[in-house]
Symmetry: C2
Subunit: 409 residues, 2 copies
Amino acid sequence: MAVGLRAPVASSLRPVAGCELGWAEAGIRKAGRKDLLLIRLADQTSAAGVFTRNRFCAAPVQLCRAHLAVARPIRALLVNSGCANAGTGPAGLAAAKRTCEAAAALIGCEPSQVLPFSTGVIMEPLPVQAIIEALPQAVARLQPSAWLEAAESIMTTDTVPKAASASCDLGGTPIAVTGIAKGAGMIRPDMATLLAFVVTDAAVAPAVLSELTRRVAGESFNRITVDGDTSTNDSFVVAATGGGAAPPVASLQDPRCAQLQRAIGDVAGELALAIVRDGEGASKFIRIEVENARTGQEASTVAYAVAHSPLVKTAMFASDPNLGRILSAVGASGIGDLDPSLVQLHLNDVWVARDGARHPDYREEDGQRVMRGAEILVRIALGRGTAQATVWTCDLSHQYVSINADYRS
Amino acid sequence: MAVGLRAPVASSLRPVAGCELGWAEAGIRKAGRKDLLLIRLADQTSAAGVFTRNRFCAAPVQLCRAHLAVARPIRALLVNSGCANAGTGPAGLAAAKRTCEAAAALIGCEPSQVLPFSTGVIMEPLPVQAIIEALPQAVARLQPSAWLEAAESIMTTDTVPKAASASCDLGGTPIAVTGIAKGAGMIRPDMATLLAFVVTDAAVAPAVLSELTRRVAGESFNRITVDGDTSTNDSFVVAATGGGAAPPVASLQDPRCAQLQRAIGDVAGELALAIVRDGEGASKFIRIEVENARTGQEASTVAYAVAHSPLVKTAMFASDPNLGRILSAVGASGIGDLDPSLVQLHLNDVWVARDGARHPDYREEDGQRVMRGAEILVRIALGRGTAQATVWTCDLSHQYVSINADYRS
């Protein structure tokens, strides 16, 4: 029951020169579903990534970091769904390495030129043999326009595949940017989201791509939350194949960086919001804007406190304008010197709380009208400064509980 | 569906000399239910309290702090359920004052000798007139053995009234300690829980009582969480009437302080755990012990991270041993230099994860057996030091969503 989100049309997803995608059914958790994805990249590809800060980060995340630190270029992304390969110790790391070796042998590169990714159940062993046996199928299917199938093959509790494309003129030469993501639950990214891959045919120096990737993550995947749980496997990787006609972007001083960042950011932003719209059990899409904060960090803290409050989220689910819960979440967010009498609260166009208390003109039916909608803007002004932050989230529904209670069954 | 919790038997609740309780039906939110409580205290009573750190703290909390700062002795506690009188601005403060004035006039003391408390919906005006009109009924009913009715009159979403008694020999002279509490949801106390009142007939100097109250809160109400939301109204007050025969405790050096703290702590601890057992929608009672931490604060942070993870809580609800979620919550708790390979996880007697990965001897059916129980011990060793912390919580169920989605209807 994703909120205002439909599966992308395959024809809207632009192929990216230098990038081919192939999927397979490896039977990792269930038979007969796409659960393995190989993305083959041209041999001059640069790549950059941001990863979870969870200390129990998965084996593939550890390996990605190691490979990105040494390997140029990156030649393939290998993704499985159904098993997270996290909480698996040294055996998990060895398993992830073996899948990289198998993929490298098939496409002709070093294992360190393969970046591995996993998503699924934590603390279960990766079925390495099943993956290795299915890999040739994925290689046989490699083709540049399989973005929608690629998006499908990385889904877990997602109800809708997530993919997006953008194009822009990079200093007069058109480039393509296309990406896919999966999300749904365990979403409170810290440096990234569950899994998101964006590929462009621009040629970009690794150092430039790293910085652009970091900036884009900060404005997209690091601004969303479903349930406040930061996954063991969060990974956001951007690859630049150089397969297009645009001359290389070699430095952050290149004026085309802004264009490139915007194009990658457009795709990442669309994917991030799609993850919230398809949050586990989501029936509401909620944008929380905190303004007049002293710092951006403070605004962000307050926005996340509201976004994570189970009481706010259940009221949203019920379309119940029990809006004092929002004030309570603001008050409990940890700003020791917050002056409640300066706090203003709007819901869409309705001024709910003025100077820390219910606005005298506020009427329950106005709050009710806004709460009934599927998309809600919560605007909170703190009266402390000029900084602001925006966070997107969804409600907490019966279905969230059902999905996560029954996840493994 | 409280977990292993029954309503206390009235005869088990010991009257406390110098303390009388009277309730009334003021019709604050619904007609025909006890929603007003007056506790009259002997005229030599000392009192101490710890209160929410929520910056949107309710008007009665502000007034309590002010009255405790100036008034000796405290002569009455006045409690209403159904309306929190929080997010109500200066009008809310004036309303709380008026109820103190009315109570003071009836029992013959200064308004500053009355401590007011409210619990219920936030950002709605306090029905002052209804409270003032019902107060004489509460006064007429004052009597020393109405502890169970008192516990009933402060309930909101609680399914079971919460009250407990302890007695001890204070240097050879018996004293009585009896208390009541209400909780259920919006429970992640920070310096207290929703509402809890403990009264003893010991005579205790205010400064001593303050320190004992702070210590007791730290080991009881500040070690529990239901949903991680810190309320606007959390208040824990201890009153010492001096109505018993024990000589006064005038200093923290008095060796009887340890006995007194233990007796108050026994009552507070029982009330705190009752709040978790009756957590909104709770079907599991979960004790989380974190050990081998570098500091107690660190152990506490990890314990709360696990206790607040919606994914852990929904797995508990489902009796699903999806235990990698616990490791993930540990990893995401913010300890930057945590070494996952030193982490051990037990569930009751079952060793689930050894050195950060699934124990080779762990069998799903063993995890399943533990998860099926109504009371579960999660034991996490961090391998970093010798500090430890314990936190109690409950699961996240469909009923939690229902209760909070429908709270006002």
